[in-house]
Symmetry: C2
Subunit: 421 residues, 2 copies
Amino acid sequence: MQEEIKIKNWLQENREKGIRFLQRLVQEGSTRGNESSAQAIIIEKCRKLGLTLDIWEIGENKLLEHPVYRSDRKDFTGNPNVIGVLKGTGGGQSMILNGHIDVVPEGNRKDWHQDPFSGLLEDGKIYGRGSTDMKGGTASLLLAMEAIISLNIQLKGDVIFQSVIEEESGGAGTLATVLRGYRADGAIIPEPTNMKLFPKQQGSMWFRITVKGRSAHGGTRYEGVNAIEKAMLIIKALNELEKMRNAKINDSLYQNIPIPVPINIGKIQSGQWPSSVPDIAVIEGRIGVAPSETMAKVEQELEDCLSQLAKSDEWLRNNQPKIEWFGGRWLPGNLEVDHPLMTTLKTSFEKVKKEKPIIEASPWGTDGGILSTVGNTPVVIFGPGTTEAAHDVNEYISVDAVFIAAEIIALSLLEWCKIDS
Amino acid sequence: MQEEIKIKNWLQENREKGIRFLQRLVQEGSTRGNESSAQAIIIEKCRKLGLTLDIWEIGENKLLEHPVYRSDRKDFTGNPNVIGVLKGTGGGQSMILNGHIDVVPEGNRKDWHQDPFSGLLEDGKIYGRGSTDMKGGTASLLLAMEAIISLNIQLKGDVIFQSVIEEESGGAGTLATVLRGYRADGAIIPEPTNMKLFPKQQGSMWFRITVKGRSAHGGTRYEGVNAIEKAMLIIKALNELEKMRNAKINDSLYQNIPIPVPINIGKIQSGQWPSSVPDIAVIEGRIGVAPSETMAKVEQELEDCLSQLAKSDEWLRNNQPKIEWFGGRWLPGNLEVDHPLMTTLKTSFEKVKKEKPIIEASPWGTDGGILSTVGNTPVVIFGPGTTEAAHDVNEYISVDAVFIAAEIIALSLLEWCKIDS
């Protein structure tokens, strides 16, 4: 098909420009609450592409009362969601292209070889927090659309580009798009899959466990109960629970994943004074939810695990650890492996890469759970970044991968939305 | 002796007034950096007693360059040390009466039955952070002095009352008194010994251990190394070190102490995000130093323990945990059990209590280490509070104990400084 060759050529010719765009996007470090300057770059690009813009600060449409909404963020002022629609001529299938603009904190700055928001290009990689998760993916989406628009290819179906906030905290941004009425016949989310196709996605939930101790002077620590010691018992029990839960997973899509549904201990805080026995410890983490599981069942399993532990420890029996299901939660996604959207993506992949794609289940939650469950939109996760680089120091994205993903996505749009010739 | 009966009577007659004074002192919560309003009450009392006042903000006399100085506090402005001297007529032995005004943080406010700085009197106890450690003791000192002054008893030796800051952080306040020239033939520090005599005191040091992990997305936590898990290995190793060190203690003064020189894990901080594998964990704690040990030896033992641990773990071998000896350190104290100061206190104790005192070694560091080692002043720790209540929620002091301690201290002053009759 002539259009496919044109797209390949356009992407080659516009490589420099595409790289500069992604670098600028990475340089605007968009950690939670600081998304606006990166969104400004997105808005500028959408405007240049002639997309119909919808820019709004989320919170309306009873977002905060929705059962899936679990954010602990109170204020979205100044940090909008952005949607740019490329209206089709009619008669084709619509497609949502969804990327989140928020990035996780940079961690320990000293461990970065360069500024965490440098956007440095070196050996074919662009470095910086958010490069792989998922500004590289967002760049692929916009390059695909820009190629189609620049080449004057008319699509029949609508393409709805979304740059959302709050994915890393549980998807309030994408939930807001659904409540605002955005749905489609299919959706691609270019999270860092390392070019694999993920029709199924692990869900996940955040938990906070608070355990008490009894304070005392450190010099007579035997008069107190150290909350850190009790927190260690809980962490051990959670490790055991993780083992047990993963032993039961037999979905073949997970066969190459060392721990299909991990329990991550992400944070611990305890104590105020080196010479005092700490009287309270707070653990925060995330537990994975298998595509076939419900959130409620997983909550129950973790709660049962702690009740069981408390039986074996006199102090915990009398001072039950408290669990809160706070902040982020990502619904699992569960698309059939042979859904037409999968076929479209597989075909495009094979055309561009001359090989079959790897099909797996994602090891993490994405906004795909909300789009498919609440928005009733079939979702495939497919993107150029790598999970290994995501959330790590010296996060990077391969420039080649960004452009190959852009080409595969562009070809999928031609196939899915149909060309009006 | 007639004066002894007079003192007993005076204390009985002035019980109400003494209680109110202690309540006011507790109500002025004097955590680190907020000592001034409690010191104001001390200053007012010293002025009423006609003592020669010396009030100064510490930091002069090369305090910060002194090898024993290890505070991490930079600014002492507005929170002075206070000394009030009762000049003797000459020919007697001098006595320092030393109490610290700083209190540790109140911990979890919700666990307190009442405001942590209520000063509430209930069932013969006064409640509040600092009541037992050691404003109750300070009240005993001032009651003893007030009784003697009010009864017009002239002493030959000087009595040097000291209300110092920074004891809970390593003794910069008392070090400043020594560098300012205050020394004496003996000293009593009424830390919460539960009316036991402590000629020997455990020293202690604060440590901070920083251990690295490698961050990753929590959904693929197996790609990272969790710093909290590594911190747990370190805590376990410190527990083992504590066992080993305590197995070697054979001083009979420690025979009733479950853990003579404890290692307390006082604080842990790790992680920024529930869905990320944390890449750094920081542990803070204190390690006890036996009266017969040097600080240098104990530092070496802890450092060796971590080196040993690192050998058994590949990650730690390549990412050696870092130890800092920061903030507070308290020199151990080591007075002979048959020193004349001990004899004086024992005699007074037996007169008042009609029983023999219990003699032990303190389970915690005090300013006695600095007074005896740097200030060359023999020190006994003896006070009305209890170690169990110190640093705990619902800290309290027995009013009876405060008045009995005051009587014992007053009688000791008569004996030590001699009456000029």
